[in-house]
Symmetry: C2
Subunit: 221 residues, 2 copies
Amino acid sequence: MPEQNNNGEKEVVSELTTGRLSVYLRCLSYLESIHQKNVSSHELAKQFHLNSAQIRKDLACFGEFGTRGVGYNVSKLKEHLVRTLGIDRVRTLLIVGAGNLGMALADYGGFNDTGFRVIGLLDISPEKIGQCSRSGIPVLPYDQLAAIAAEHNIEIGIIAVPAGSAQEVYDALATSNISAILNFAPIQLRTRNGVKLKSVDLRVNLESLSFYLKNAEDAGE
Amino acid sequence: MPEQNNNGEKEVVSELTTGRLSVYLRCLSYLESIHQKNVSSHELAKQFHLNSAQIRKDLACFGEFGTRGVGYNVSKLKEHLVRTLGIDRVRTLLIVGAGNLGMALADYGGFNDTGFRVIGLLDISPEKIGQCSRSGIPVLPYDQLAAIAAEHNIEIGIIAVPAGSAQEVYDALATSNISAILNFAPIQLRTRNGVKLKSVDLRVNLESLSFYLKNAEDAGE
């Protein structure tokens, strides 16, 4: 279920664009890694299977980094996207729930890479507190959330607890002045103003694969 | 990195639409659960924060379930979306990798709900084989992949192994006639024709939150 909130239409539009900016950033990082200096919207579209008109439209909002006939400067455009996405500085994260999902997220490459740093996992279980994830992220007591959030200036909280505890955790994160929350629990949360919530629904990916399988079946009939 | 593949533009378009159909399905399921009989595209858009023109456009492709002034019949439209997404029958899944991520996915609500059933987790570790996830999904020997895939007519394989093993697992899944693969390893895979690959990049969600935080900072300056 998508969250119900008070955001304006503008924010949704920019959120869709943000997703595409992340995709462009990955493409540009790859091109940079193979030492490609310039790329046209057409090339980008073809190589990474994107829409070239959409690329030009999205990037037009962010100033001019393209030269007709030469294309975009890969490094400059990448740098600009990094700044636009606000990952030119490190944002600190706390994961609530040190179960399988929390542990997997703590060690997930992209969560502890440029722009983000996982400070700890919070849990209520005395057996888990004091342990570490494989990559060394410590499990800390959940009842110290407010103190830890203040000490480390935590900006993003991740909810990786069962659905039944998710609302309580959301409220506790919001109360601890954490203003952006990523929720993995399959439940609709009552949101607060000024706290950005993003809920991840992994099932969508399976439904997309199912759609592909169904179309392949229909074509084969 | 988005995968490079040989799909046509048409498939990408339909994949984007598919994601939205999944969102509509969740909204309709919610409305059905509160016994709402009809809903207009306008109401859907307002309540769930979607775009009403986009809703009408997406749903127009799937026949006519709307009546002017009354809106869509919630149950009929839902049923139609379920069929369109091919989840009106059960598709069987295998998860490769019984680490934290694999275990979390095995117990993830939406992966063992209407339309999908997780048959098992495969692993090479003798200590893990024979164990079960919390919800009772068994860990089976990876070297029996081909036999298990054939016996249970597995349609979807999920890669939840470290990046270094992901290509090998992809190839083994494809060789076992599994034609749809969901990849969680942060690596670009060499794909085969006739095997649909979807890679999940959870970092995109963090970047979207970072974008929100940055804009809030800029507005507050």
